[in-house]
């Protein structure tokens, strides 16, 4: 009877202790209701004034009230007040298409030796198709005059088309066309004064459709971000904070914050409390480095896990993104003609002029250590064609204090390389001599490599490559963030390929597991013995 009493008492004590410990653990990670996370409070404060204001009404500016006959005339009018704008812009990456990188003697950027596994190369601005995004009026590269309106006009008016027509009509003797020219000039005059800070449409015109179409390149940047809802992006959602791109991508002398391999965002990872003029390009800028509620276990992650890793559970959530591009399949014909074949999502899965594609939606990112920089394999770097070539890949490891586990889109594909020189090749695609016109890859490579000044042996084959894009837009509402068990789990952990350290829940370690269980059992035994001792002693006294 006495023995049974002891066992029952012991079990009850054990249950009470376990309950108390569980309650304490839960309580420690969940602050009282109503308390707002520090990071949220700080961010709200940082963006309190949501309205831009200006001291200028451009409709009243005399220089803009004229019958323009060319884009260059419009720029001249802009510069009559903004005297240093073009000088500043000429030094920016948006104009030069040149960037610095890990090798000081290398010409990086679209106008340099950089390549990707989409349309491969800008061919030193020889590729006219790429130049449609270069902000010059004449589309002849850096020789032209800056087109200020490409980024600073909200009218949506097609100035290039209208000004081209005005020029043609001005040389025409037909009285009807003279009347049309006058109408057009009035339309230009009305549109040109709609001057603005860059809108999502301005930036998205190129950045949402990079690589030749909607969502082709980035995965977290496509036309769904023109008018997103909060579920797609809590910052940009028109039913949420309604941020434009420039709200975070702040600018100094027309240099825009956020460039990944020239100016890694983490180089300016600081709170606005530390520096009120710091670029607001990292999450920490507004949310601080301990953004979650006090005592939240999540705050212990921020020195190794990027905010994006948990808060962007998937990318391409509305529009699909291209995940595979195989140039080796290009050039096939149907009935002697180039053709297009469409697949899921209504997107092309084959184009004779481009090759084979694969598209995906709601894609779970791949995770790597990243300090914000990227390695870049250019057309002048020697490759090993027996391996998958990493054209672009994040730099970082767990011993680097600037590195965090970061989400990426990895775009895979096959592209041409020089079999003799062992270098990636830069075929010219658009224009009369381009592959899209001739379907002759060898000739296209000859023209393209000549444009960038890198010799071509005349022998090519295809090599598999990867290109990494950091995922940083499409931030989901907090309730949709990645939860603990999607990473801290034995099977199918999101971080399965982040190895070299012990991660609770995911990894098994005999030593750690034994120490852990001994600690738990020891603590339980201690509490139990202590409780029982007190219980029996007190009982004895009372009696």
């Amino acid at each position: 009877m006495k023995k049974r009493y002891f066992i029952m008492t012991g079990l009850i004590m054990l249950a009470i202790t376990a309950l108390a410990l569980s309650f304490q653990a839960v309580y420690a990670s969940t602050p009282p209701d109503g308390e707002e996370a520090v990071g949220r409070t700080l961010a709200k404060q940082a963006v309190k004034n949501s309205q831009r204001w200006t001291t200028v009404d451009h409709a009243k500016i005399e220089a803009l009230n004229q019958d323009f006959t060319s884009g260059e005339e419009i720029t001249k009018a802009c510069l009559s007040c903004h005297s240093e704008a073009a000088t500043q812009f000429h030094k920016s990456i948006h104009w030069t298409w040149l960037a610095s990188g890990d090798k000081s003697d290398m010409r990086y950027g679209k106008a340099g030796y950089s390549v990707n596994n989409f349309c491969i190369s800008g061919n030193a601005m020889e590729d006219k198709s790429c130049l449609s995004c270069h902000p010059a009026w004449n589309k002849k590269g850096v020789q032209g005059e800056v087109n200020c309106l490409q980024c600073h006009n909200s009218s949506g008016f097609n100035f290039n088309e209208a000004l081209g027509d005005i020029e043609a009509f001005s040389k025409d003797g037909d009285p009807d066309t003279k009347e049309m020219m006058k109408d057009l000039q009035n339309e230009v005059k009305e549109a040109v004064v709609k001057v603005t800070f860059p809108t999502r449409e301005n930036c998205g015109d190129c950045h949402f459709t990079g690589g030749g179409g909607d969502g082709v390149k980035h995965g977290d940047l496509d036309t769904s971000l023109t008018k997103p809802n909060r579920m797609l992006d809590v910052h940009m959602g028109t039913d949420g904070k309604d941020f434009s791109c420039t709200r975070c991508h702040t600018t100094v002398d027309h240099n825009i914050a956020g460039r990944i391999y020239t100016n890694p965002a983490v180089a300016t990872r600081k709170s606005l409390l530390e520096d009120d003029l710091a670029p607001k390009i990292t999450c920490e800028s507004c949310h601080s480095s301990e953004p979650h509620k006090n005592d939240s276990k999540m705050n212990d992650h921020t020195d190794v896990v990027s905010c994006q890793a948990c808060h962007i559970p998937t990318y391409a959530r509305v529009n699909p993104t291209k995940m595979w591009w195989d140039w080796s399949k290009a050039g096939k014909m149907k009935d002697g003609k180039p053709y297009v074949e469409k697949g899921p999502f209504g997107k092309p899965i084959y184009k004779s002029i481009k090759g084979e594609f694969k598209w995906e939606k709601n894609v779970v990112p791949e995770y790597f250590w990243s300090n914000g920089s990227q390695t870049s394999t250019t057309a002048d770097d020697v490759i090993d064609p027996a391996q998958i070539v990493k054209v672009s890949h994040p730099v970082g490891d767990r011993t680097d204090p600037e590195s965090r586990i970061f989400p990426f889109k990895i775009h895979r594909g096959k592209q041409p390389y020089d079999k003799v020189h062992k270098k990636l090749l830069a075929p010219l695609l658009s224009g009369e001599k381009g592959y899209w016109e001739t379907l002759d890859m060898n000739a296209a490579i000859e023209h393209g490599n000549k444009a960038i000044g890198i010799p071509y042996s005349g022998e090519f084959d295809y090599v598999e490559t990867t290109y990494a894009f950091p995922i940083t837009h499409m931030v989901a509402p907090k309730e949709n963030a990645v939860n603990c068990t999607q990473c801290h789990i034995r099977e199918n952990s999101r971080l399965a390929n982040i190895t070299g350290f012990y991660m609770p829940g995911r990894d098994k370690s005999y030593l750690f597991d034994t120490i852990g269980w001994l600690s738990v059992l020891g603590a339980l035994a201690g509490v139990l013995l202590h409780g029982m001792g007190g219980f029996f002693t007190r009982n004895g006294k009372e009696e």
Partner: protein, 116 residues
């Protein structure tokens, strides 16, 4: 003599056929640039009288091939484009300009029309 005549006739036929093929491949000879704005005016006028909802054209030359536009305009089968009354009021010269605009910027033309 017979041989000479045959050669002359053959050369003549070749020149005529080549010329007509070249001419045919160029399509209509109107002012396509003028046609673009005439088309926009037609559409705008049509929207003002309730013929179409949008004041800017919703049908683009790139919606069809050169062959399809040729068939539509040469058969004067413009029902699909809408605004029948406005088309009827247009002089032939304006219709030719609009036809040239659609033909020269069709989806399979060297310069297909784009939104921008």
């Amino acid at each position: 003599m017979f041989k000479k005549s045959m050669i002359t006739i053959m050369v003549l036929i070749f020149v005529l056929v080549s010329f007509s093929m070249a001419f045919a491949s160029e399509g209509p000879e109107g002012n396509d640039r003028k046609g673009k704005y005439t088309y926009r005016k037609v559409y705008k006028a049509c929207s003002e009288t309730g013929g179409v909802e949008s004041a800017t054209p919703t049908i683009s030359p790139a919606d069809k091939t050169m062959g399809q536009w040729k068939e539509i305009f040469e058969n004067k089968d413009l029902d699909e484009v809408g605004c029948k009354d406005n088309w009827a009021a247009l002089p032939d010269e304006d219709i030719l300009d609009i036809y040239s605009y659609f033909y020269k910027h069709a989806s399979d033309s060297p310069t297909p029309a784009k939104c921008k």
